[in-house]
Structure formats: C-alpha cells, structure tokens
C-alpha cells in the first residue's frame, strides 16, 4: 500500500511542479510578447515623431528661405523699376534735344523756302544738313534707349512674375506661418 501511496504522491508532486513551471513559462511568454509589441509600438511612434520633426524643420527652413528670396526679388524688381524710370528720363532729355534741332531745322527750311538768293539757299541747305548730321546720333540713341526700356520692361515682368510665384509658394507650402505671412502682405498692400 505504502509504495502505491509514495508513487501517487510523486506523480501528484510532478504534476504540481509541471503545472507550476508551465504557468511560469506561459506568464513569461505573455510578458515577452507584450514587451515586444510595446517596443515595436515605441519604434513606430518615434519614427512618426522624427518624420514630423523633419517636416517641421523643412517647413521652417523653406519659410525663411522663400521669404528671403521674395524680399530679394522685390528689391531687384524695385531696382529694375528705377532703371526703367531713369531710361524714361533719358528718353525725355533726348527728345528735348531733338525738339531743339527739329525746331532749328524748320526755321532754316522756312528761311530757305522764302529766300530768293541761290547763294543764301545753298547756305541754308548746308545748315540744314549740319542739323541732320546732329539729329542722326540722337535718334540712334533714342532708339537704343527704347530698346533698353523694352528689355528692362521684360526683366521687370519676369521679376514680378517670380515674386508672385514665391508669394504663392510661401502661402501654399510653408504651413500656417506662410499663410499668416501672405495675409499680412496682402493687408499691407491693401493699406497702401
């Protein structure tokens, strides 16, 4: 009887021990599994945060970069506009000079028309020719200035177009800061 009892006790003991260790193993497995998931979640979360940080840094840089470009573009367009106005002033001055020559030329032409003497007519003709000689370089210069004005106009148009593109890029690609900047710019324009 006793050996049977011992045998039964051993079997029960082994069973209890096996259950105990099996439970421990299952608990450890669960903990390990949840820890693994936690680490994975943490990695994903940090990756998302890094991506957000990169985007924020890019936006911040793009904002400052584009605002600087916009400012430079406006400054250069202002200079181009000034040049355009200076060319206008030059054209005006040359036109005044030309007006003086044309006026003098008409005076000699009139005198030549009403003059009877052949000698005097020839003298007037020479004066008219001399004035024509003077008119020619001024006319050329005036044409050059018109050509330059056209070039400056084109440059000004391109610069204004570029400035506008930069303005919209700041509004559309630099987040809230860019939108705020655009709004301020438009308000300043309206206030002018």
């Amino acid at each position: 009887m006793i050996p049977y009892l011992i045998g039964a006790a051993v079997v029960i003991g082994v069973k209890v021990a096996m259950d105990h260790f099996s439970q421990q193993e299952r608990d450890a497995y669960k903990k390990w599994h949840s820890k693994r998931k936690e680490v994975q979640r943490t990695i994903e979360e940090h990756e998302r945060n890094i991506e957000k940080h990169i985007r924020a840094a890019e936006r911040s840089y793009n904002y400052h970069f584009l605002v600087d470009l916009h400012y430079s573009s406006v400054q250069i367009a202002n200079e181009a506009y000034k040049l355009l106005k200076q060319v206008d002033v030059s054209i005006g001055a040359i036109q005044e000079i030309l007006y003086k020559y044309y006026h003098a030329k008409r005076k000699w032409e009139k005198k030549q028309f009403y003059c009877k003497s052949k000698y005097k007519k020839a003298e007037f003709e020479q004066k008219i020719q001399e004035i024509n000689e003077m008119i020619q370089p001024f006319s050329t210069e005036k044409n050059n200035l018109y050509h330059q004005k056209k070039e400056f106009n084109q440059k000004l148009f391109d610069l204004n177009k570029q400035t506008a593109n930069l303005k919209y890029a700041i509004r559309d690609r630099c987040g809230y800061k860019g939108q705020k900047w655009y709004k301020r710019l438009e308000e300043r324009k309206k206030a002018r």
Partner: protein
C-alpha cells in the same frame, strides 16, 4: 532646403528578432519521452522561462536604445536646421552689401547720364544759337559726338549690373518644395 538635404533616416534600427521555440509540435516519440522523463520537461520549461526573462531584459535595453537613437536624430535635425538657418543669415548679409553696391553704382550711372544729357542740351543750344562762331560750333559738335559715344557704355553698364543682380537670386524649382 530640399528633402535630400536631410540625409539621416527617419527610421530607427529594427529590434533584433530572437526565436524562442515553443515546441508545440513535438512528435509522438517526444511526447512519450517527455511522459517518461517529466523532469526533462520541467527543465525545458524552466529554461524557456529564463530565456523569456532574458529576452524581456534585452527588449528593455532595446527600448532605451530606441529612445536614445530618436533623441540623437532629433538633435541632428535641429543642428542641420540651425546650420541652414545660419547660411541664410550669411546670404542675407551678403545680399545686403550686394544691393548697396548696386544701388550706389546705379546712382552714379544715373547722375553721370543726367550730367551728360544736360551737357548735350547745352551743346545743342550753342550749336543752334545764332551768335556763336563757326569754329565754336565745330568744337561743340565734336564734343557732342564725343559725349554721345559714351552714352551707350552707360546703358551697357546699367544692363550688366541688373543682370548680375538678377543672377544673385538662386534658381528654385518651387514645385519641388514640399
């Protein structure tokens, strides 16, 4: 800053996978052997429990590594941004001096041209005036041609200066900016 300028990865190194066999699919002989030798099974379960615990410790260390790597990456992003911002400041300063030089140059060109045109207007008056001698008129004409020959150079200088100034703006493909 184009996206390519951020060369570091947003990805954190993945955790190392450790395979712990769960021995769910032991064959019949294995099951019989286990039944015959329960201590072996207990030893195996104990070993596995220890392995899980060791693995949990390793994952804790991995977690610390992930946090550290993340912090380092964040700092690298901030440092890169600070560097690029400094470059912008330097560019702004250099642009300011370029503008000042350009404005001074233009101002001089404008004054020079204005003076030349005033001189030419004066010469013109003298050339068409009645009381001026032929010799004097001849001199004024020669001077007019001389001054006139200088005018295109001023135009070219102004053109060149503006072109140079336009070149200071970097060409940006706005569509590439995210």
């Amino acid at each position: 800053m184009s996206n390519s300028e951020y060369t570091y990865s947003k990805n954190i190194d993945p955790i190392q996978a450790v395979v712990i066999s769960e021995n769910k699919n032991t064959n019949d002989w294995g099951a019989i052997l286990k039944a015959v030798n329960p201590l072996g099974t207990i030893a195996e379960m104990y070993t596995k429990t220890l392995m899980y615990k060791v693995e949990i410790k390793r994952l804790d260390a991995e977690m610390e590594r992930v946090k550290l790597q993340s912090a380092v990456t964040m700092k690298a992003i901030d440092a890169t941004l600070a560097l690029h911002m400094e470059e912008l400041i330097q560019r702004r300063i250099s642009m300011l001096s370029v503008f000042q030089t350009f404005q001074t140059q233009l101002e001089h060109l404008h004054i020079e041209r204005k003076m030349m045109l005033e001189t030419l207007a004066h010469f013109t008056s003298k050339i068409i005036e009645n009381g001026v001698s032929i010799e004097e008129k001849k001199i004024y004409k020669e001077l007019t041609f001389l001054v006139m020959s200088q005018l295109p150079q001023l135009n070219d200088k102004a053109n060149l200066a503006l072109s140079e100034l336009v070149k200071t703006i970097p060409v940006v493909n706005i569509k590439q900016i995210r």
